[in-house]
Symmetry: C2
Subunit: 467 residues, 2 copies
């Protein structure tokens, strides 16, 4: 469908549904069609001219249903937008269409003991505002939790803060079910329990419209946020690793930043020297007493220390210096930087981290996040900063990591299978075939859809026939 | 000091402290001098004729202080007794003396957010009765939690239920501090923070009199207790292992029992066949939904299912079939059995479990507990049941395990270093030298004390000079 055809389809839809909350001014639509893919110079260039034809912010499921019906009738693409904090252009429409701002769907539907069900457009921090008084908080969330939506985390995210305990969001037990609207002439509403629900996870909204997500929660602790500094990188690594690996030291977040990364933290860097390496930890109050000894043992010094309550009141959480916020703080200071996403081997990540840091020197700067993998192993991921020269060199760097048995989750690609997913998954494509038979949801992102004729597809991947 | 000398010393002490709560009738003293070391036919024989000369149950710290003073003056051994649920003769006096029943010290001293401080003689279950309404429970406890005392767990225990999350009790962060009385002519009271506090852990009360223990707590969940059965042992193993290794499946306890162990559970065995293998799991309510799929995948069936509240009300928790309760249930049915304590390798415990089960056939019956080790790795320990023939064959079996890279924590020895500790630790001996310079506490248990002249001892192992 070319631009002219889309324009006339859009006109017909607007005519049929004039009461929807439309945004059509091109600059505003373009702005809303962006996320944080500009962290990648490669994606920045590739997605520069991509945008929606219009934006709609539904006020109700009924409005969304009418819009879906209309888009199916006129074969216009539909792309979901949450908090727009993605890093891979998850929401950037590749072939125009209507961008649906989901942030009107922002209610907590049900709060149980250790379980919450909320609408996809709610901000993650707003979920915790409801759950925390009951003693619960999110099991894993990105550093963008103040802006990021639940649906965005589910549709395009991975995990983050809390993954040191619960692994990635996709690990069994973290997501319990989703409620989905199909992209059909007569849209259906489906309740999909885990594990099938996970077939819609990290699919960028390309195989169903997630309306609600039911999450298992973590018990809340009184957290202390700390930034500790070290003159020696290996000392900092070993301090963080000792904390990560001690099952009796309760934590929510643990990250290591090689110099000069801490110097990019402009609100904090008065507390230490630019040559120092840092560890940010969020640890339970009852575990903090052990820091003194552990710090002394690894020749570290306390630089910043605050309670999570203080941090929240001041909108100054150290969690907002971790995961991809690190990249953001760095790019604000030095826009020539970009980043990697690497997964070290759980069996020898310590040595790999040291080796890779030594191998690249100043060109690749270690930012290491500690987490559990899907099998419960404690391991480390890198969101290394890269002094960017060319796309060719960037690919070369990634190849060198792979050659050293460090997995690359390439953040410089916009197709789902080229990133974390790693390969075409026929089950994920089967879901799209069932819920979006015309291929209208976020077209161009799911490579498997383009080659669906070569795949063996399941007619009922969500086991709906069993319900 | 021979029996006659002890008798006259005892007479002098009784004369000086007539108001203490004395037990002196030999049969009663003998009964109080027993624990569950009879699980081991070796220890049963070795400790058969060992007992205290008298038992005292102090009503106050002042009474205990007077008793300590008197014992030091007359050089009479003093041995601490908690719930008497130990398995290695921890409390059995090797050289007579006064057995101190600590169960009068049974108060919770302070409950904070995630922290409790309680007296050594309190039963573990009674601590939870206080902490649970505040949303907290014990991080790790033996299956004997209804009888076992806090001081007993600290002085002679390891961990157990909850160790799948927090590792052994001795892992950093689980114990925060202890309050200790010294065994001196003028007894001192010391507050010893972790990590130094751990030098008194698992020392059988041989290097200090622990009066109070401060523990970090775990947030309470609504737990579900399940017993699921499998026709195939590997299916049962893989089910348990999948549960153990999934970071998003929240659990407190996970154990695997090869047939015919489940048939020894006489209150449960109507729910399954004697040929079936069982997995007992204690899982969070919010995680239970995933069992159906996981069970089906591993060809398992639900046999028993109850909430922890129901179990508590009925005094019928499935936790009391795990850890060394398994051994107890088995020995009740077949007194010719005994047991092992093995630590599999975290890197290949699944294969080791299968191999060792195949190697010994019916002679060694797999009872496997899943837990985290001190470095946060998920791994497995065995409390295998043994069809006992001779001590020689028992030692041969243990050697075969060692030859297959499975560590043995020998439960058939009464000296501290021969069991879990594995070697003489000069720091532990240094503590005894400082707090019990006359070697009166539980004499004969700490091998390192006998050879103290050959060790380099620290004059201040608890860093008291820094306080």
């Amino acid at each position: 469908m070319d631009s002219e055809q889309r324009k006339s389809a859009l006109a017909l839809i607007q005519q049929a549904l004039p009461d929807l909350d439309w945004t059509v001014q091109a600059p505003k639509v373009k702005r809303l069609s962006r996320d944080f893919h500009w962290f990648s110079p490669v994606l920045k260039q590739q997605l520069e001219n991509k945008q929606a034809d219009a934006v709609v912010k539904p006020r109700s499921e009924e409005e969304l249903r009418l819009l879906v019906q209309a888009c199916v009738r006129h074969q216009l693409p539909l792309i979901l937008r949450g908090g727009a904090t993605g890093n891979y252009g998850q929401l950037v429409p590749l072939r125009g269409g209507i961008l649906v701002d989901m942030t009107g769907f922002n209610q907590v539907c049900a709060l149980g003991d250790g379980v919450v069900r909320a609408q996809a457009g709610i901000r993650l921090a707003d979920i915790e505002t409801v759950t925390r008084p009951a003693g619960w908080e999110l099991r894993c969330m990105p550093s963008t939790y103040r802006l990021a939506s639940l649906g965005g985390l589910y549709g395009g995210g991975f995990g983050g803060i809390g993954s040191i305990n619960y692994g990635p969001l996709g690990a069994p037990g973290n997501v319990l079910s989703v409620k989905v609207m199909t992209m059909e002439a007569e849209p259906r509403i489906l309740d999909v329990p885990a594990p099938q629900a996970l077939l819609l996870h990290h699919a960028y909204g390309s195989n169903g419209i997630v309306l609600e997500v039911e999450l298992a929660l973590a018990p809340a602790h009184r957290w202390i946020e700390r930034l500790d500094v070290f003159d020696d990188f290996t000392d900092a690594l070993d301090y963080a690793n000792a904390f990560a690996r001690s099952p009796g030291l309760v934590k929510r977040q643990l990250a290591l930043f090689a110099a000069p990364i801490p110097s990019y933290f402009s609100h904090l860097n008065g507390h230490y020297q630019a040559t120092q390496h840092a560890v940010i930890s969020v640890i339970a109050q009852e575990s903090e007493g052990l820091c003194t000894n552990l710090l002394a043992k690894h020749r570290g010094q306390s630089a910043v220390r605050q309670t999570a309550d203080e941090a929240r009141d001041a909108n100054a959480s150290l969690m907002e210096y971790c995961w991809n916020h690190t990249t953001l703080h760095a790019l604000k200071i030095d826009p020539t930087l970009t980043y990697l996403q690497t997964a070290f081997n759980y069996n020898n990540y310590r040595q790999q981290i040291i080796d890779m840091a030594a191998l690249f020197g100043d060109e690749v700067i270690s930012h290491i996040e500690f987490l559990r993998d899907n099998d419960g192993n404690i391991t480390a991921s890198g969101l290394q900063l890269i002094r960017y020269s060319t796309e060719e060199r960037l690919n070369e760097i990634m190849q060198i990591f792979r050659n050293n048995d460090v997995k690359i989750n390439n953040p410089h690609v916009y197709q789902i299978e080229d990133g974390k997913q790693g390969e075409i998954k026929s089950d994920v494509v089967s879901v799209k075939k069932c819920l979006d038979p015309n291929g209208l949801l976020n077209p161009g992102k799911l490579r498997g859809w383009e080659v669906r004729d070569t795949l063996t597809l399941d007619n009922d991947p969500l086991l709906l026939a069993d319900q």
